[in-house]
Structure formats: structure tokens, C-alpha cells
């Protein structure tokens, strides 16, 4: 408030304040894409917040109902375009459930390696974006993207594309690892902790970051569970629920790793959980790279073209970097899925956005949104 404000204006009772309605987005750098929040402000305080979706809606589900089971895989890349490989995996796993296919062991190991690398990409990029939302323009994000580039190089040499990988298939993976890939990944995994240490030295102890995040956007575990919040956001509230542990899908049951849990459920915990999860991902990667067996990479029964599963339905879910990523497929025996549904973690994590933002300042609302970790390709589908 400027010095020119009249004292009479300051003394006005809160009930007489005119609420200021601000449409934050869709073209706003803090909204991570085309997302809009209709915010009502009392001074700087948020008193109402309604998220508005649909700017990136292309009815992915309808498109997939008109595509063959194989043809939907490249579209899943474009859901959460930062983590295309985990999307591939969730879809491939659900089709495997629906059609009764089993991926060979080597393929399962490759999937674990790729999805943990994806988790590293997602969490480091998120930390960078979150800091960007707080006003640390560029630097942390640039460091995060530099490390991401190195992982994308690995993806490119394996799958042929950096972001739209289109790599996993129902019943296995598309092609085997190129020579030298394991060694390159091993050296990346060996170097990654030093980046994390640097990143933490830059950020975690920073007093400005602490002041901006501690006690901001607190979420209680009861509300988080009831609202279906999943992933790092849920674990930041202290609820121990990681689908990698609960379902032990793929070969996750064979690795020893811990599930980091938060205490207070504020933005700082959400940031910290992601840093700690990256360290656990590195542990999984080390074990997976050590144990990966030789063998085929695709189920010989898997028929990529003209797959016609028996009529029935299946729900498959994985622990994506943003939360529970589920696919629900109904087959009527035809070459296309009868119903194809995605459970988008970032959309459902936004359910409690208003609850977290009420009573906070508008600047904090931006930080809270950043800590939810949304990608609009997945929210709007």
C-alpha cells in the first residue's frame, strides 16, 4: 500500500471492502500453460478462487475411442508431455491387464529405469518452475533443465525422440537398448547426486525460499485423502501411500527404497518431498541398472496390429511423478477400445486448490499452484 493512502481508506471495515475480481490466466506465466483462476481478492487476500479448465481440451478420450490400441500410444505421450514414458507405461500396463499379456522381465526393468529417469526430470523441472513462480527467474530452472537435457539425450538415443518417446508397447517395449546405453545411464546416475547437492545448497537453505513456502498452502491429511490427492502432494501431508509400494507393479517389489513423508503439508514440504524422492529414485536406478537381465523385450503373444481383447474392462494405475495415473479401458471385442478413460493426477490434485489458497495472499496462490505440479496437457486432455 502506498504512502498516499488516506487513513480513512485504511480504517474501512472489511465488510465494506469491494472485492476485486481478477482473472488470473489463461495467458499468464505462473499458470504453467493455459489455465485460469477466477480469483476474488479482498485487498491482497484471496477470498474465492475458482479454477477454469478446458483451454487445451481436445477430447483425447474420444480420439482414442476411434484409434486402434496401438494408435493411442503416441497420443498418451502428449498428456503429460514432461513425462511421456510414465504415460506410456500406465497405458501399456492397462492393455496388458485387459488382454492378458505379460511383459518379459527385461522389459519391466527397462520400464522401471525409464520411469525413474522420468521422475528425475519431472521433479527437478518442477523445483525449477516453483522457484520461477517465487521470482527466482531463470537460474534454478536453468540448472534443472541442464540436467534434464542429459536425461533427454539418453531418451533420444534409446527411443528416437526427446519428449514424445512413444516407446512402450503392450507386452513389452519397442526396441532393445542400444549398445553403451546402460553405461551412459550409470554414469549419469553416478553424477546426479552432486547436482542434487548443488541444487539443495542453492535452494533448500535459502531464507527467502523458506519464508515464502513455510506454512503456506497447508493441506491436512484428512482432506488430502478425501479429495483423492495423490503423489508427492499427498505424501507431503504425511500419508504413506505410494503405489510403487502398495501395488508393487512391474518389478518394483524387488527394489529397496524408502517413501519420504512430510509433516506439515505446506509448500516447503512439497518441495522437499520431491528432492528426497529424486534421491530415492537414484537408489532404484542403481539397483535396476545392476540387476537388469538379458532376454526378450516383448511378449511373443503380443499382437500390436489388430489387437482385439475379449470383452471386458480393466483399470490399471501407476505411481506417476505427479500422482496416481490410471487408465480405465472397456473392450467390446473390437479393434478400438469401447471406453478409454484417463485418471489425470494433476486435475484431481487441483480439487483442493481453493481450500489451500483461501486466506492467503495472491502471490502465495501462485506459489501454491506451482507446488501442485500441473501440466495442462493432462488436466484438460
Amino acid at each position: 500500500m502506498s504512502a498516499s493512502t488516506l487513513p480513512s481508506e485504511l480504517a474501512e471495515p472489511a465488510s465494506d471492502h469491494q472485492l476485486l475480481e481478477v482473472s488470473l490466466g489463461p495467458q499468464h506465466p505462473s499458470t504453467h500453460g493455459v489455465f485460469r483462476m477466477d480469483v476474488s481478492l479482498d485487498g491482497e487476500m484471496v477470498v474465492k478462487l475458482k479454477p477454469v479448465f478446458g483451454y487445451l481440451h481436445r477430447n483425447h478420450e474420444k480420439i482414442a475411442e476411434k484409434c486402434s490400441y496401438l494408435g493411442s500410444i503416441p497420443y498418451t505421450d502428449r498428456l503429460d508431455y514432461i513425462c511421456s514414458l510414465t504415460n506410456n507405461w500406465a497405458y501399456a500396463m492397462t492393455v496388458e491387464k485387459l488382454a492378458g499379456l505379460v511383459a518379459p522381465e527385461r522389459a519391466e526393468y527397462i520400464r522401471v529405469i525409464l520411469s525413474e529417469l522420468t521422475r528425475l526430470i519431472n521433479h527437478s523441472a518442477l523445483a525449477g518452475f516453483l522457484l520461477q513462480d517465487m521470482g527466482a527467474l531463470g537460474t534454478p530452472l536453468m540448472y534443472a533443465f541442464r540436467e534434464r537435457e542429459k536425461i533427454l539425450d539418453l531418451f533420444e538415443s534409446l527411443t528416437g525422440a526427446r519428449m514424445m518417446c512413444n516407446y512402450m508397447r503392450f507386452g513389452g517395449c519397442r526396441c532393445d537398448l542400444p549398445p553403451g546405453w546402460i553405461e551412459q545411464t550409470r554414469s549419469l546416475v553416478a553424477n546426479f547426486p552432486s547436482f542434487l547437492d548443488e541444487f539443495e545448497a542453492l535452494l533448500t537453505g535459502n531464507e527467502i525460499l523458506q519464508a515464502r513456502t513455510e506454512g503456506v498452502g497447508v493441506l491436512t491429511p484428512q482432506l488430502a485423502v478425501n479429495a483423492g490427492v495423490t503423489g508427492p502432494m499427498l505424501r507431503a501431508t504425511g500419508v504413506n501411500y505410494d503405489i510403487r509400494k502398495v501395488d508393487a507393479y512391474g518389478v518394483y517389489g524387488r527394489f529397496s527404497f524408502r517413501v519420504p513423508l512430510g509433516e506439515r503439508g505446506d509448500v516447503f514440504d512439497r518441495y522437499m518431498i520431491r528432492i528426497l524422492e529424486m534421491r530415492e529414485s537414484l537408489k532404484i536406478l542403481e539397483q535396476a541398472l545392476r540387476d537388469i537381465p538379458a532376454g526378450p523385450i516383448i511378449d511373443p503373444k503380443a499382437k500390436l496390429r489388430n489387437l482385439r481383447p475379449k470383452p471386458g474392462e480393466a483399470y490399471g494405475r501407476i505411481e506417476g511423478p505427479k500422482g496416481e495415473l490410471g487408465f480405465y479401458l472397456i473392450s467390446d471385442g473390437g479393434p478400438n477400445p469401447y471406453r478409454y478413460r484417463i485418471r489425470p493426477p494433476s486435475l484431481i490434485n487441483l480439487t483442493i486448490l481453493e481450500d489451500m489458497c483461501l486466506g492467503q495472499t495472491i502471490a502465495d496462490a501462485v506459489v501454491i499452484l506451482g507446488s501442485v505440479d500441473i501440466v495442462l496437457g493432462e488436466v484438460d486432455r
Binding site: 503416441p74 514424445m164 512413444n166 533448500t204
Partner: protein, 196 residues
């Protein structure tokens, strides 16, 4: 101590700034138009059609089976079959495409067409400087623009191409051996069906 975290962070930034002058791990970017990164063997951008020999249209491997057209998720391939057949590499008469267009403004570079092609006829290219001022004309590539020789395929995807070449050589050898055996076998005029 308050403020210590910020100083620690400043030290990190300084270390990265100085490091970017001598450490390749800290500076991963290149000055693009002047410098280019080495090509990656598996990289893919848009599809192209492989042909054998010198004549692009005569050596086209595509048999216009339209599997890729059907499977293409964004439906960017348009094929019209030609009525005139031509012999393929083992001498069998095959269909050929009269029109084979790919709308690369629609293509999403997924590589499904390559995966489903049973004739190794369509492969993924690595060209990426495709920008053009003409949005509609120049982004619709016809079969003459799409056709590229097998040598080019060998150059960009060495492992995959040499495997395919070995397999095709083998097929060719077998076909020639079969033809020779057929020619050597005594003809029996009593079976009119043999003329087929």
C-alpha cells in the same frame, strides 16, 4: 545465521558461472546454426520412402498395401494404388503407389507407420530444418519428395539398415535359387496349371 543460505546459494551460482567456461557438464548447449550436435542414430523426425537402385520410382519398396495409412494415428498418409504392377526385389509382381502423400503438418513423428510396414519401405528421416513460408503446398510431400535411396537409409540408421540389407540379400538368394531349381526341373506339358 540469517542470510547464510543466500550466501551459500550465491557461491553455487558463481561456481556454475565459472564452471560453464571450462566444464562440459555445466554447459550443455551449442550455438545452433554454426555448431550442430552429432546425429543420433535412433533419432526420428518425419517418414521417408526407401528405394533400391538408381531409379527412384522403379525401385520404390512400397507396395501400396495401405497398412500405414490405416494405422497412422493422425491420418496424415494418403495412398492411391496404381493399376500397373511392378516386380519387387525377389521378382514377385507387386502393387505400387500412384499417389503417396504425407502431410507433414499433421504428422506427429510417432513412427507407427515404420513399425507396421511389412516391406521395410517406410522409415523415419532425421531432417529437421523443414520450416517453409508456404503452409499448405510445401508441407504436403508427394512420393517424389519422399523417396530417398537405400544408401541414405544406411547412412542415418546404420544398425537397422544393415540388418534389413542382410535379410533382403538372403531372400533374394533364396528366390534366385528357387527360380534356378524351377528352371532346371524337367517341364511336364501334361500339367497346364504349371504355366501359372
Amino acid at each position: 545465521m540469517n542470510g547464510f543460505g543466500i550466501i551459500k546459494g550465491m557461491i553455487e551460482t558463481a561456481r556454475n558461472f565459472v564452471g560453464s567456461y571450462h566444464d562440459a557438464q555445466r554447459l550443455t548447449t551449442v550455438q545452433y546454426p554454426e555448431q550442430k550436435l552429432p546425429p543420433v542414430e535412433n533419432a526420428r523426425t518425419i517418414p521417408f520412402l526407401v528405394f533400391d537402385g538408381d531409379d527412384a520410382m522403379a525401385g520404390l519398396r512400397c507396395t501400396a498395401c495401405v497398412i500405414c495409412e490405416k494405422e497412422c494415428p493422425p491420418q496424415c498418409i494418403y495412398i492411391v494404388k496404381d493399376q500397373v504392377k511392378k516386380p519387387d526385389y525377389v521378382g514377385k509382381m507387386q502393387m505400387q503407389p500412384k499417389v503417396f502423400d504425407i502431410d507433414i503438418s499433421v504428422c506427429m513423428s510417432c513412427g507407427i507407420c515404420v513399425e507396421v510396414c511389412p516391406f521395410d519401405a517406410i522409415k523415419m528421416d532425421q531432417v529437421f530444418e523443414l520450416s517453409t513460408g508456404d503452409r499448405f503446398g510445401k508441407l504436403l510431400l508427394d512420393k517424389h519428395q519422399l523417396a530417398k535411396p537405400n544408401d541414405y537409409f544406411v547412412k542415418i540408421h546404420k544398425t537397422e539398415a544393415s540388418e534389413i540389407d542382410v535379410r533382403r540379400e538372403e531372400d533374394k538368394r533364396k528366390a534366385e535359387a528357387a527360380a534356378a531349381a524351377k528352371a532346371a526341373a524337367p517341364k511336364s506339358p501334361a500339367t497346364p496349371g504349371a504355366a501359372k
